[in-house]
Symmetry: C3
Subunit: 362 residues, 3 copies
Amino acid sequence: MAVPPSTHPHRLLPLFLGLFQGALLLFFTLFVIYDEPSAQAEDTNLVANQVYSTFPFFQDIQVMLVVGLGLLLTFLPRYGFSALTHNFLLLNFSMQWALVLQGLLHHFHHGQIHLDLHKLLISEFAAVTVLISVGAILGRASPCQLLIVATCEIPTYLASEWVIVSCLGVLDVGGTITIHVFSCYFGLGVSKALFRATQQPLHPKETPTLRSDLMSLVGTLILWVFWPSFVAVLCQPGDAQHRAILNTLLAMSASSITTVVASSLLERDGKLSPGHLQNGSLAGGVAIGMVADMAMPPVAALALGSLSAAVCVLGFRFLTPLLGRKLTLHDQCGIHNLHGLPGILGAAASVVAVLVAPKDPS
Amino acid sequence: MAVPPSTHPHRLLPLFLGLFQGALLLFFTLFVIYDEPSAQAEDTNLVANQVYSTFPFFQDIQVMLVVGLGLLLTFLPRYGFSALTHNFLLLNFSMQWALVLQGLLHHFHHGQIHLDLHKLLISEFAAVTVLISVGAILGRASPCQLLIVATCEIPTYLASEWVIVSCLGVLDVGGTITIHVFSCYFGLGVSKALFRATQQPLHPKETPTLRSDLMSLVGTLILWVFWPSFVAVLCQPGDAQHRAILNTLLAMSASSITTVVASSLLERDGKLSPGHLQNGSLAGGVAIGMVADMAMPPVAALALGSLSAAVCVLGFRFLTPLLGRKLTLHDQCGIHNLHGLPGILGAAASVVAVLVAPKDPS
Amino acid sequence: MAVPPSTHPHRLLPLFLGLFQGALLLFFTLFVIYDEPSAQAEDTNLVANQVYSTFPFFQDIQVMLVVGLGLLLTFLPRYGFSALTHNFLLLNFSMQWALVLQGLLHHFHHGQIHLDLHKLLISEFAAVTVLISVGAILGRASPCQLLIVATCEIPTYLASEWVIVSCLGVLDVGGTITIHVFSCYFGLGVSKALFRATQQPLHPKETPTLRSDLMSLVGTLILWVFWPSFVAVLCQPGDAQHRAILNTLLAMSASSITTVVASSLLERDGKLSPGHLQNGSLAGGVAIGMVADMAMPPVAALALGSLSAAVCVLGFRFLTPLLGRKLTLHDQCGIHNLHGLPGILGAAASVVAVLVAPKDPS
């Protein structure tokens, strides 16, 4: 009743995870330490301030990923418990795996790894990509398959993030490209690769009910509320962070209204589609990530939020069925509409912002 | 299945909202800017500190309004999804509308509007009044009607708040009068005006089930937990804010116990009524708002919390049926018991506190 | 429908609670005051900083206890609403009762009691013991019985905490022994004492459904997310608090993975047991409490988290049925597995840590 059984060797999942935990313990034993306790009172104050300025954001993001995203995935009534469980398992696994990989990279350059809250936060960001990607194959993959996806995706993400941020010098505080666009196309690729041949019919249990839609909407609302923390946590404290919070709030507020407009225009009887609402309200947060901390007028955030919600709803209405028919590409949660299209829009917006902005301050 | 269709022209809702979004964009383009980036390091620290001291409170309040209040309204099982959706839509619409109106008022006096977190917070407070008022007509009004209520209520609130706070000089950090009492009587007026003639029978879907009551109670608990943030966010940092938090905690704790006492005394079989618990536990928070930051002994907060819960439960048991029979006034969520009566009690308490207090410090 | 009726005198519960509220009001009138308002600007800043550094943690803990723990207890579908209600009532009652008792103790030594956020926090910690203990008799005791348990447990806790911390000098920031182990064995004792003779069959309504398991898991996840705040709130600001947060995060992350491993190895068909997941994921948080702020290598936190989750799952699989058969000891929520065994493990770990640690810094 709970988690669908792994294909037939029941022992594959515990074996895989058990080995991973063992390797993790070994890795931590050899390489990971905490900072030396700060000797001076000044340093102690500094650490305390860092904790107070980062930890609330960190907790907000944990709530988003564990509770908000988990609930968002429970819209398939009989698969709800499994979806929540898998999301939780994947988050933990991916975070640990990202910690190991980042540690190894760091180790080759600098020796022992000093663990702190910031490193955990970076690993958490890496884990987000996995949680987004598996939305494309929700309910159709075994836990083992999901773990293998995570195992492959984390190093790919770290490499792509390094190329985009360090090599190309792209600024992306909210992870619009590095997280959302990347994980969307990775997830679609996985979906295509795993379920290539089969023009699978929808599983009979895959129909949302009134009640499962309610739980899923609660998940959306939790994500909606805490999204500004996700975008702002890595910003420069002060004006940039303040602006990132405000821009995200504006973009998401505009998204919600535009989603209602677009959805009730597109549906024949003028009713809102729960799926549109659950996703469209968040599109602004995806799109704003790249430009959130830039010095742009507030109206740009509103416009971007509106536009991305419209694109997201249009995607659900027209693009998803098209992809399913033409490319036999199944996208169970519609990650292409929530993460792919608004992400590309956000990237385009950042290009415009960069082209326009320098004239003002210089 | 989701949102009940607007009367018969399905296009009214998107038309109305779409025009509003367009006007909002225009308004922001013309009038709203961010502060100039702070040039000096000191200013940056100041901004950062403001963000760290306001933003967690702001997030708490967002959780209250979006998740807590939304869930509280889901006690009608088949109307739950719509209630949550309407609450979310109204919050966004009202906040944007309050932002525009406040901006216009400000514009006539000072030119361009510098957007910051504090201004968003004030708009959010304005939006709360709408969310409370529509509780009286929950499940009986179309989305368009709800939006029209919001359109009218926000300017009325701003005017009344200006009269009460600026002209009369009333201190009301927690919004006991300006928010709770105002929105209660506004909501009752709307209910009377919209459903004047009809002695409507309860809709068949309007009977809470065990499960919908559980979700609604979760909403109450979320509101209960974060209420201190709502009351304390606008207080002077330091002692006043500390006292506001403590007083609110004491009042709400006393409310919960007294609700259980009052409810099990009034129900014939000694069982608790879910409706009493969902509302009475919060009555202390409504009543304490006006006196929360005053220098009064802690026992006053406890007594006020107890008293307001008792009044709230008595209201549900006796006053609501009476109003329905005598005045054909329907109050679906019992906002008169949760916001009206405890609000008046809190106002009376603040009069007493002002009369008694000056003797001590002088 | 809501709360099961108290045995037969329906008036016992309101009488008991009403008298308690009266006594509380009297006590507060006589003994409890707030601090004098700070005269100097420096003091005001100090108070403000205390509020900003404690209040977010305090709120996190409130969410854990009121929403998280409440939802965790809703796994019995028809008893869910009552479980949530009882949890909420007991939290408020126990906190107030602890405030009175601590106040009285303090009063005999120092005169009037100056209430502040820290004192409320300490009372909240005392209340946690009651919430844990009653897990053993969930659904089998009337509200009055639960309140009597709380009335007895709070003074016992205060005495035991005084002996352990003040007399024996044991450091236990996360309450591993003082809260978890204590309340576990107190709760088991209560269960034995109340239901001694009866080899009670499981009540027919005591079978979790898919949906009630989902809600319960959401409760677990909320507890999981905010647990670091619970462990770190009483730590020294700076390095110790930072370390406590990191250690708790690591331990709980390891717990979640190990729970999946252990549970799918033990269940015949390789499926996860919801009960294991709901409890095992939290075992690391229980065990880490005592050593969280010590200067130990990060791998120790991971190992402790893994070990405690394994012990917890093994306890559910083998020990709980054994205790039920041999000692007719019923432990409805399995508190012995979640709080007893991991707590003992954590205590053992702290002994090891103390024996090993001094060599390094000296």
